[in-house]
Amino acid sequence: MKANRSIVFRLILVISLWSGLIFIVVLGYNYHHSREVLEKELEKNAANLALSLANKVDAELVSVSKVTEGVAKALETADYDEKSLRLLLRETLEANPGIYGSCAAFEPHEFRKESVAYALYFFRRNGTTDAIRLDRSSGSLPYFYWDWYQIPFELGRKEWSEPYFDEGWGNQLMMTCSVPVFKGGKSAGQVRGIVTSDLSIESLTRLVSSTRILRTGYAALISRQGVILAHPLKQSIMNETFFSIAEERRDPGLRKLGQKMIRGESGFVFYKSLVGVKSWMYYTPIRSTGWTLAVIFPEAELMENITNLTMVMTVIGFLGIAFLCIAVFFISKSITSPLIALAGTSRKIAEGNFELDLPPIRTMDEVGVLTASFQSMVTSLKQYIRNLTETTAAKERIQSELKLAKDIQASLLPRIFPPFPERPEFDIYAMMRPAKEVGGDFYDFFFTDRNSLCFLVADVADKGVPAALYMMVAKTLLKSEGQRVGDPGKILCNVNNILAEDNENCMFATVFVAILDTVTGEVRYANAGHNPPLLVRSGSAAYVDAKHGLVLGPLKDSCFETGSLMLMPGDTIFLYTDGVTEAMNRDGEFFGDASVLETVGKASKTGAASIISSVGEELGRFTDGAEQADDITMLAVIYRGMP
């Protein structure tokens, strides 16, 4: 179930993450692009709005400054006495309802020789105009040192004062335009006095304040020194400057922005507004006063539609991804559940239960193909196992038959020792240890007449059943011929001829056959390609000089010579097959002829059995448990002489 969860989980994870990522990128791009388009569009609109507002404000200011400049010009070009000055100021005031007060102030002795100071101020009061002499009014500071006089005087140019509250006008925001009156023309540079016009800027700040920008946007006005003149933050008007707010907020960026504004630059910026909302602002100067007019568009409101659209898209997108996940879940389930069923079944099959039904194949998709393949694999496996079972049964039968054959073969060889307990003149012992179940080696001994003991050792080429069968034939023939003929050479000749008759398989055997005259001790013998036997006399072994001869079987009419030797009482004759000399140890080394010679020579001579057992032990020591490659056959005869 873990694998199941992991595939489904991984699919859902990967698909949802990737589709989510793609979706976010698309959304982000969409948002960003929309914002860019909006921003471009906004800059144009904001600039238009700001410029038109600024122009409106400027127009009013310019008209006042033109009037003031007109009065100054008049004073420069003509000689005015007090009466005509009064008329000029009164007419100016009456002709310009926007102007609240108008003043002409002069340097000492400039207007009238006798007056140290002369400043005449006309102003509106209760619907009419009134006039006072400022030089005569009490106050701590002579008019020469007020900003409205001093600044244009020192600078020699028209100046707008910083706005100020005037409680006399109902606490209105006022401003004064001051124009110097030059003596002998402006080029002479000597200021004779100052002409001023006071105006309320309430209508201007109202115009700015009442400008509707979206729902929460606004327009603002700051003076050339950064003082807030019109702003939704009412309490900051005339109290704060752009820079004091920046200081309080510890916002150096805001300060930099303010510096750009009061330097008379125009610009479009995205910033955190004074009301603390991220906004776009377009600012532009009002030329005549150096003020700055700004229009502010709150980002949230402006981006509302885009944000809403993005939100809706986000919801749709994530719902889509959720549905996608559900679909992926079911599809991957439909893929993995047959796989899981298949896995469960195959585990049971692996445990050996071949009779289970695989899950039914519904579609021929990859899982269907896999199930079909699996089905055919199970069928093949079943067939294979059936075959294997049968083969194994057959093999077991053969094995048991071979075992039986071995027993039969063993029973064919004389196995009762001593075989002739009533004959003391000799002692005979033999053994055959087959390499496979049934062997090709054999030995035999029998009396051909009362005093002639025939004994032989043979080795059929090849091993196993064919060799055993051949051995049976050879053994039977050798025994029957031995008993009938009585001469070793002749025995071999006859047997060879019989064997060669129908030897299509070209099987052959090596045989050493000997006949001992128990009375004389004479041994006659013949050899058909067999290892020469050993004669042990007085403690030392030597090869019997026997003609090698051809092997039995392949060639008809082969002749085998009969040799003879005389055994003295105590002599031993030792016959063996190549299984003894060619016994191999683990290193692949042969026991060898010399070892056989030495072992037999040293063996205890108490009996034939002891000789064979000591050679057998020596062989066992040499091979040290290595697998026996060939049958091992040994036969020993000790001649003791007639009693």
Binding site: W146, D147, I151, E154, L155, E167, Q225, N239, E240, S244
Partner: protein
């Protein structure tokens, strides 16, 4: 109406205009019932006249007033804001006030003119006056002012710069400075007078960066002119020794409180400014309070010297006498009303 306008002009920015005495007076009276209720009948009425309208320059007194510190010391204090037409010395002399905030130099001149002033406490230990110019004017030392157009205030406020010009043999093209720094901001003068705690910051608040300005602290040119101190008449000390002592204690405690609670003190000041219809912004009042702390020599919130240094007093007296600004000056003991203690 031009008079009205003039008032307004003054009130535009830093310096509040020619103040109306009655208005804040009645206002304080109206808002004081809180303390009147608390006050036991033993509260002694007293009036303090400050140099100017409410601002953080006087934060200690307003904090002490609002936090009931004066009441705690048995004083029912009324603060009379000073201004261009209200001379604190004159108020003391005429008995319209019991205590006054005065500069040491002004006090010495009053004393020389025969007003028996006593220095009760020296709040600001050094001069905060500076001459500010734009970097572009290249005025990096006092000598560079020679022949330049410099705006100076009238009266006591011009004592120190004139004294230094004489001392350094400099002749400047003097322009009288009004209640604003607008003339300087618009380039009408090369250098303008400024108080570190006030006009200098107004310039910064008008968008000029500190690194665009060259600043000459007059205090760095040899003679210390300690500014705000608390004064009363000799006879008040004589007749009301307990009140005088309580007043000093309460005032200094007020200052300590103000320095320890700057935000609250700024709130108090701004409240008083609003009552007096004076333009106010926090950043400026905060700056002013911070500078007051620097100038008072306060170290840590609980430390406040508040005492006139004998050396400062005698140096200034000697220099002023030498410059012909005063004919004579009393002994330090007489001036601080401790002559009998000293002897």
């Amino acid at each position: 109406m031009k008079t009205v306008k003039r008032k307004s002009c003054m009130k535009t920015r830093l310096f509040s205009g020619i103040s109306r005495i009655v208005m804040p007076f009645t206002l304080f009276f109206l808002v004081s019932p809180l303390f009147l209720l608390d006050a036991s009948p033993a509260l002694k009425k007293a009036r303090l006249v400050t140099l100017w309208q409410p601002q953080a320059q006087f934060a200690g007194y307003y904090a002490a007033l609002d936090r009931g510190i004066y009441a705690k010391h048995g004083i029912d204090l009324t603060i009379i804001p000073g201004g261009a037409v209200i001379s604190p010395a004159e108020m003391l002399r005429s008995g319209k006030a019991d205590f006054a905030v005065l500069w040491l130099a002004s006090a010495l001149r009053e004393r020389d003119a025969g007003v028996q002033l006593i220095n009760l406490s020296q709040v600001l230990q050094r001069s905060s006056m500076m001459l500010v110019s734009r970097k572009t004017a290249g005025i990096t030392g006092i000598e560079a002012l020679n022949g330049r157009k410099v705006s100076l205030w009238d009266g006591t406020l011009s004592l120190l710069p004139r004294f230094l010009f004489r001392k350094y043999g400099i002749t400047v093209n003097e322009v009288r400075q009004s209640y604003t720094v607008n003339l300087f901001l618009r380039g009408g003068v090369d250098a303008a007078s400024a108080m570190w705690y006030n006009e200098y910051h107004v310039m910064l608040e008008s968008g000029i960066d500190a690194d665009e300005l060259n600043v000459l602290f007059l205090n760095d040119y040899g003679v210390n002119f300690p500014e705000d101190g608390l004064y009363t008449l000799e006879k008040t000390v004589r007749n009301e020794p307990q009140l005088t002592a309580a007043f000093i204690d309460a005032s200094l405690e007020g200052w300590r409180y103000a320095f320890a609670h700057p935000e609250e003190s700024v709130d108090i000041i701004i409240r008083h400014m609003h009552k007096a219809h004076i333009p106010a912004n926090r950043a400026h009042q905060k700056w002013m309070l911070d500078r007051m702390r620097d100038l008072s020599g306060s170290k840590g919130s609980e430390h406040m010297p508040g005492v006139l240094s004998r050396t400062d007093y005698e140096t200034l007296g000697r220099e002023m006498k030498a410059a012909g600004l005063i004919r004579s000056y009393p002994s330090f003991g007489t001036f601080t009303g401790k002559s009998h203690e000293g002897q």
